[in-house]
């Protein structure tokens, strides 16, 4: 092994990926010219790197994403159901109150509809003839002879 191989061996991947600085790259290049073992190792790293970069990129299937999200919500529900018993009891009372209020509201609504239907104006009151001309004559009978007595007219269409 040439001098300095132990120094330059950890920098092999950086050399292949082109990540070394200008000074480090010049120093390492001078070493590789005089050390066949390091040159062989760098070549091996370069082939590996090329193979890795030549692989196709793969995306996560949508089914896998949905399943993951469902698992997450399910886990959250499971988590809420796993709450302590005291919390579960308060929720039951709330539902009972809600149901009672809904029932009362429905009963009031039903009563309102029934009252509205039953409160229709009374149309059964009998109708009567209105003999206005006879009323006028009756009025004249009881008003004539007053202090200013004037004959009254009976016709409805003067």
């Amino acid at each position: 092994m040439a001098d300095g191989c132990d120094v330059f061996e950890p920098l092999g991947s950086a050399w292949v990926d082109g990540e070394l600085g200008h000074d480090e790259r010049a120093t390492m290049a001078a070493h590789l010219q005089g050390c066949p073992r390091c040159r062989s190792r760098i070549n091996g790293l370069r082939v590996t790197s090329t193979m890795l970069h030549s692989l196709p990129q793969r995306r996560v299937p949508t089914e896998v994403g949905a399943a993951h999200s469902g698992t997450t919500r399910s886990s959250r529900r499971q988590s809420s159901q796993d709450r302590p018993l005291v919390t579960a009891g308060a929720s039951g009372v709330g539902r009972a109150v809600t149901r009672s209020l809904a029932g009362m509201a429905a009963a009031f609504a039903l009563l309102g509809v029934a009252a509205f239907a039953a409160g229709a104006p009374d149309t059964e009151t009998r109708t009567v003839a209105v003999p206005v001309d006879v009323y006028v004559a009756d009025h004249i009978v009881h008003s004539i002879g007053g202090p200013v007595s004037t004959p009254a007219l009976l016709t409805t269409q003067p």
Binding site: L111, T125, T127, V128, V130, H139, I140, P151, A152
Partner: protein, 356 residues
């Protein structure tokens, strides 16, 4: 002692009772009495103004001199009034309705009431139908001129009457022809024949009985839900009440007067059958509820319904007083949602409650 008493009576008692009645009172008393006791025949002209539109009509007047007074419209109606009763005939439709006895002797009742609301003054003399007449004016104590009268000096009869409201002529009745001897007038004789014996054989006689209702009976009716005000706006006071037995209902008539004008309120239990109203009815548009009136008709008349009761108001009060009276009487109220629900709840309760 007797001398002292005589002096006291002479000084204290006599002046008040010996104070002469005002001339206007004498003239009105005489006019009312003459209308009953003088025989005459004439043709009267009616002009009434409604919303600025004149309505004109003529009719025959016949007085027998013994209490019978008949009025006949040339086309359809005739009415006969007498102390012992009268009738109303409608020639075109062929029916006759017997009327109760006219209270012709009450002429003097209203003069004291007249002074409460009005001032009367004799204003002068004028010629009318070539006859000398005394003119009079009646003014409201809180308003202006309401009546102008022409009274025949020879007979004492009222020959012309003009009624004013707010300074405008509201209606006028005046004789176009006048004769104190009916036998000389063939038209008058024909009118008398038709009006007093006017029941043609083909006429249908409508039953009607009228009974006066005293104050005790009125209290009973009030307790039963009838509307019987003792007074109406405009200082109109109830003077008398009558129960009318008609064909299919029993109306209640309450007569009101302010000393000059007379109003009659008729109440019937039931909703009005609008189809039975006489011709000429028009729906009043400015009252806020359904009512029918007869524009230009004299006396004025209006019919409406409230809470299952039919009200008919008939009278010769000025239009503003007439409407104030209508407004003071029951009229329909708007039937809102809460009213309907309240009524419905009451009915539901009455159906399920064992105590109802």
């Amino acid at each position: 002692m007797l001398l002292i008493v005589a002096l006291v009576v002479a000084v204290v008692g006599f002046p008040a009772s010996a104070e002469p009645a005002p001339k206007w009172r004498y003239l009105l008393d005489r006019a009312a009495q003459a209308a009953e006791e003088r025989a005459y025949v004439g043709e009267a002209l009616w002009v009434t103004y409604d919303a600025g539109q004149p309505h004109v009509a003529t009719f025959q007047v016949q007085s027998s001199g013994d209490g019978d007074i008949s009025l006949a419209d040339s086309d359809s109606y005739a009415i006969r009034l007498a102390d012992d009763g009268g009738g109303l005939a409608e020639y075109e439709r062929g029916w006759f309705v017997p009327l109760p006895a006219a209270d012709l002797a009450k002429a003097h009742k209203g003069l004291s009431r007249l002074e409460e609301k009005y001032q009367v003054a004799v204003t002068g003399s004028q010629q009318l139908l070539d006859r000398d007449c005394t003119t009079m004016e009646i003014t409201a104590r809180d308003g202006g001129l309401v009546e102008r009268l022409w009274i025949d000096d020879a007979s004492g009869l009222l020959l012309r009457r003009e009624t004013y409201a707010a300074g405008e002529l509201l209606r006028m009745v005046s004789y176009l022809a006048f004769d104190l001897d009916p036998s000389r007038s063939p038209g008058g004789a024909a009118t008398a024949q038709r009006a007093t014996r006017g029941q043609r054989p083909s006429m249908v006689r409508r039953p009607q009985e009228v009974a006066e209702v005293d104050s005790g009976d009125l209290d009973v009716l009030r307790d039963a839900g009838w509307t019987v005000p003792t007074a109406l706006p405009g200082n109109y006071r109830a003077e008398s009440s009558f129960a009318v037995s008609a064909e299919d209902s029993q109306p209640l008539q309450v007569v009101y007067s302010d000393g000059l004008y007379t109003m009659s309120l008729f109440e019937q239990s039931g909703r009005p059958d609008w189809d039975t109203l006489p011709p000429g009815a028009q729906e009043a548009t400015d009252l806020g509820f359904k009512a029918y009136t007869w524009p230009g008709a004299v006396p004025q008349r209006m019919v409406w319904e409230a809470s299952g009761v039919t009200y008919s108001l008939v009278g010769d009060a000025p239009p503003d007083e007439f409407r104030a009276i209508v407004a003071a009487l029951p009229h329909p109220v708007s039937d809102g949602l809460m009213d309907r629900l309240q009524r419905g709840l009451g009915r539901l309760w009455s159906w399920v409650s064992p105590w109802s």
